[in-house]
Amino acid sequence: MNPIEIENITKKYRISKGFNWKKNLKQLLKMEKPDYLTALNKVSFSVKKGEIFGILGPNGAGKTTLIKILAGLLLPENGKAAINDYDLIKDREKVRTSVNILMSGGWIIFDYKLSIYNNLKFWGVAEGLRLSEVKKRIEDVLKIVGLEDKKDDFPENLSAGLRQKMNLARCLLSDRPIYLLDEPTSNVDPYSSEFIRKFIKEMKKDGKTVVLATHNLWEAEMLCDRIAILNRGSILILDETRAIKERIGKEILTVELEKITPGLIRELSSFGFVEKVIEEKNILKIYGNIKRNMPTLIDTCRKHTTLVCVDMKESSLNDVFLQLITEKEKAMVMK
């Protein structure tokens, strides 16, 4: 069985718009239904052992809600899930101790007037480390995250990147099979972000199962074996990272021209291999099967005007993401 199996998970939050005694009384007397926001809508997926599974989505997509449900910290309204073979509802305490959760800004649990060592010591014994072994374990994890020379420093004197490393060290005090990482590199400098990304790759090598919630698409593309793109609580697409790019990704030709005429756009759009042409000032973005038909496109442009610059690229996950989200938004507006 896979370490993470979830099926039709639905989560709704009651919307609170401040205290309104009339509204509250009506809701209490069941005369009026409270307003709900659907944070997750029938979400299903499984994650294999040793896999890095990405959850991508804009702010408010439901990523953190999903991470908290996987950690057993939030109860879903509907659906079922097994984490590390434990039922999410019945064996909630075992689910919670099967996962290691790392949140961005999770370092606020540390006391600013205690040293890194003294902060970690409490969380070490809370994880079941004996007093005789906790010191060695803290030294080991601080070495792993590169804070071995800062164990007597205070969190208030650390940068955001170092604090996140300290948070990571807290996470590593216990050895658990599943890691749930919620935007682990958010607000962290590039150097520390790179360190954390390398570390996530190491986790995979050690056979850990990692769920990474992020809106850093480049990061997801670099790290994840599979990705689920989430928007307004629903999974828009779920597949291997490469497959998603192949399925939805496009080749884009960006052409800077001296001037753009309606005739040029009309002619370019008439080609069967061109999906769409977008005009931005004196730049044209041509989407479609570009690589094979590049000479035809360049010749067509030259026929109408002078070329200033040409650039061709395959769409990144970023482009795929934006395309998917935009299509979904458009569909909602149409409804």
């Binding site: 910290l73 006391d111 007037k113 409490f122 994880e127 079941g128 007093l131």
Partner: protein, 281 residues
């Protein structure tokens, strides 16, 4: 991967937590010194009030007003601690995101609360000892500490158990009624009323009739009275009023503690459903 801690590991958690709190306590040196100054000033105020009002004759307690009130202040330490500890801990865990991390650790909430309680009651006991040391050695309060003084310990324990029920109900309001501010009506109401009606500073018999009735529904009224009877009058377990107090406190404990635990668990369940275990994540 551990799902639960052994008893020895739980003791380890409590020990490390105590060391951690002690380090923090000493780290804030000004606060450390001023807390003792504040206690000293409180005792001094009641000492001089005692000189001002002169000897006071109570119907059923022996001794002057100063020793009478010193006992009230000491018990009040435990009362306020018990009424505030659960809500205070929930409050700090919520705002610092500790609650979610604790729930995902094999330590569990019970061991954490045990750690916090051990520290807080040690701290309260130290304050009480300070009250008595200053009261006796600086201001000359006279205590006989009779052979029956041991009975104070079970009375105090029963008082703490019954007030824990109210403390847990108060903490449950943090989640059930979204009382996320510093003050929650139930705990605050009982703590504030205690000063007026439970006999901390004066016997409840001086209160108007209906307010006296209010004092009868609070467990602390009985405990304060019984502890004074033991320490001032030298009464022991053979005294009917002491026996009745113990029975009352057992009844209060049997009713209030399970109710408090039930409501607290209900609150946690509600927070798990609503996603309000932590503030910031």
């Amino acid at each position: 991967m551990k799902h639960a801690l052994s008893s020895l590991e739980k003791l380890g958690v409590i020990w490390v937590y105590l060391c951690r709190r002690a380090k923090l306590w000493f780290r804030f040196k000004i606060s450390f010194v001023f807390s003792f100054v504040a206690m000293f000033v409180t005792i001094a105020i009641f000492y001089f009030m005692n000189l001002f009002v002169g000897p006071v004759q109570f119907d059923y307690y022996d001794g002057p007003f100063f020793t009478f009130v010193l006992i009230g202040l000491a018990i009040n330490q435990y009362m306020q601690t018990t009424l505030n500890i659960y809500l205070g801990t929930m409050h700090s865990m919520y705002w610092s995101n500790w609650l979610e991390i604790i729930l995902t650790s094999p330590m569990r909430l019970k061991t954490f609360f045990s750690s916090v309680m051990t520290w807080t009651y040690l701290y309260a006991t130290m304050n009480v000892a300070f009250y008595f040391i200053i009261g006796i050695f600086v201001f000359g309060a006279e205590f006989t500490f009779p052979a029956t003084a041991w009975i104070v310990i079970p009375i105090l324990i029963l008082l703490i158990i019954s007030l824990s029920g109210i403390g847990l109900i108060s903490a449950s309001m943090f989640m059930l009624a979204n009382a996320k501010g510093d003050i929650e009506p139930i705990g605050w109401g009982v703590a504030t009323l205690s000063g007026l009606v439970a006999g901390v500073y004066f016997p409840p018999k001086y209160l108007p009739g209906p307010v006296q009735l209010l004092s009868k529904i609070l467990p602390q009224t009985y405990a304060i009275d019984a502890i004074r009877r033991v320490l001032l009058n030298g009464e022991g377990i053979s005294s009917i009023s002491i026996q009745l107090t113990i029975i009352y406190l057992i009844v209060f404990s049997i009713v209030l503690l399970p109710l408090g635990m039930f409501m607290f668990n209900l609150g946690i369940r509600k927070a798990e459903k609503e996603g309000t275990l932590a503030r910031w994540m």
